[in-house]
Subunit: 377 residues, 2 copies
């Protein structure tokens, strides 16, 4: 079958220095690719995943019936048309789906890193992907695209290395978290750390802190869908209650959240949740590119080179009912990049689906993305 | 000193039947009273507390420097003027501040009820207060008043016994929870029950589930204040971080939430939190008074007697930035009671303080309440 994909792992056998100055002795990068790199090696598009995403953005893993998380957008004839583009997606550093993170084994000790894993930033996530692009021999990309946290990586990468990308597409995201956005993440982290099974992050040979992680996911999920959609879908409907079990879910919305929590703990690592949400809260695009950051290496753009963004293109999309990343924050993005003379298009899509619309409202998003990509040629 | 008060306990030594049909062998009711009952016994006002409130609504306990939770509203010359009115407030059934609840000892076993405590409803809370009024020899009250869950009790009591009250005042509340409102409470309950120390509710001789209860309170607190206020107060400000402690609070908003959680677990029982939030989620004013409920005893108003509400007065107050109980829900209250020919006044107070404005914005609330009470004479 055409649309079968395998996750590849790139092993980096040399030390990797993080923005904090801390070092990892080496690194695995899990990634997938769809479509073909053309001879000019200039038809690549980089996809950035959100908090709970992974490198499996599209197509099917052999024997599985569920495609990647953005399969509706990526494939032959779709918005990210794999007949035209070479589409790449990798798992973020500190994640738990193949790229090195707190659940990975530290070669120095033979034990999982757990909390000895260094704190990561949005820039670290981006730098890891730069290694991947180097490995793939790609020096220039048509675009970089992401929703939610994926949008944060998109903006960071675009600003840090403007010479690499012709454009960026940022969906349902923000340049920095507000106090309330930090608060929601913090409560999720507290829920994990309040679970005695978390045990200071050392649970890899024991029962993981499923209770805490599940609560964290439930909190997140409330913010992912709109109040209106929740009301229309669940209202005050009830679902058969076991009368002997006190305080078991009774309302349908309770069952729904319960299911979200339970299915999440099967596929996600609690420590990764701590690292990634902290990277999100600490992300602050403007101050990160202001040139004041203590950072190694390649300074192509940072602070000095931002003028090379001039005439590049950007597409920013927000959703009317997204109360996690409201349109006002998208408009801040538009203002910021317009100020850098990037030619930014902005669309606010009318929908009741809330933040999750970046995944569900793909028909409207596809129309915008397609015409944007066409405008690049 | 004039403004010293003690909490009284009324012991009820006969069985109390709950709306569910389950029985309690007896009941304690903790209450406080301020001002003097006049000879006609018709100057009483009943105050209903919110989720985490108690009977200590005003004045000072001997030796304490912090007054009751609504002291800004209750006292000589204040909105609920104790020179004119006899003001009463009692702790709700299933609470943990003197009125019988899951942490109380079951006389049949000599052990705390824990989860053998029967589930309670808003109507149960109200019926307990009816016992108290009987004990105090009060058959008619000027008004009944409450914010948040207090507003729910207010409406329930007013509708169940319209012959008792001349008026009601309902602040920052709703006639029923939406799916999202249930969702926030459910996540709080899950956080408590996910804490292994909760132990099926049996923790009274052990360390209580402080981690879970603290997370529940943090979630609640995000909904109590407005996004704007949180942003203006905390923004992205940081507070000295112990660099060795990974994932300890770093942003000020994290420290703030942490403090809210920690101070709450010192004064509140986790099981009470489960019982009371469930009563809130199950509350549905319209269906509770539709006459279809299976309920014992005094049926003065229930369904049939609602026409006796005609010409009584109501005051409904909401706050522009309250996103827990938005003004739209207050307007539903106004429409409902207007439909019953209650003469309802409605005010939406402009404020950035969110749901907590029912406690903080007392100057504006006082003006409304004073003129409303004056209009009753």
């Amino acid at each position: 079958m055409e649309n079968i994909v395998e996750t590849s792992i790139l092993h980096i056998d040399r030390p990797f220095r993080l923005e904090s100055g801390e070092m990892l002795p080496g690194l695995d990068i899990a990634y997938e690719a769809y479509g073909k790199l053309n001879e000019a090696r200039d038809n690549a598009i980089l996809i950035e995943h959100a908090l709970s995403g992974n490198s499996h953005a599209a197509f099917y893993h052999k024997g599985e019936t569920k495609p990647g998380w953005w399969d509706v957008m990526i494939g032959p004839g779709k918005a990210f048309d794999t007949d035209k583009y070479f589409v790449i997606c990798s798992n973020v550093i500190s994640g738990c789906n193949g790229t090195t993170g707190p659940s990975s084994v530290n070669p120095a000790t033979g034990m999982p890193y757990a909390l000895t894993f260094p704190p990561v930033t949005m820039r670290d996530m981006v730098e890891v992907q730069r290694l991947l692009l180097g490995h793939l021999g790609i020096e220039r990309l048509k675009s970089i695209v992401g929703g939610s946290m994926g949008g944060m990586q998109t903006m960071q990468f675009f600003c840090d290395y403007p010479s690499i990308f012709d454009s960026f597409i940022c969906i349902a995201s923000t340049m920095r978290h507000s106090a309330q956005q930090i608060a929601f993440n913090e409560v999720g982290r507290r829920a994990i750390m309040a679970d005695p099974r978390w045990n200071g992050g050392n649970y890899y040979n024991e029962v993981p802190p499923e209770g805490g992680l599940s609560v964290a996911r439930m909190i997140g999920h409330i913010t992912y869908i709109s109040e209106k959609m929740m009301q229309e879908k669940f209202g005050r409907l009830r679902k058969g209650k076991d009368s002997k079990a006190v305080f078991r879910p009774s309302f349908e919305v309770e069952h729904y959240l319960d299911y979200q929590g339970i299915s999440f703990v099967r596929r996600f690592d609690a420590n990764s949740y701590l690292y990634i949400t902290s990277a999100i809260d600490n992300f602050d695009l403007v101050s990160s590119i202001s040139g004041t950051t203590r950072f190694r290496g390649d300074n192509r753009a940072r602070g000095k080179g931002l003028d090379t963004l001039r005439k590049k293109k950007g597409l920013v999309i927000s959703f009317t009912s997204d109360w996690l990343y409201p349109s006002q924050q998208a408009q801040d993005i538009v203002r910021f990049f317009s100020g850098l003379n990037v030619r930014v298009s902005y669309t606010e899509i009318e929908t009741d689906h809330g933040h999750d619309a970046f995944l569900t409202d793909y028909v409207q998003v596809s129309v915008m993305v397609k015409s944007f990509l066409d405008s690049l040629s």
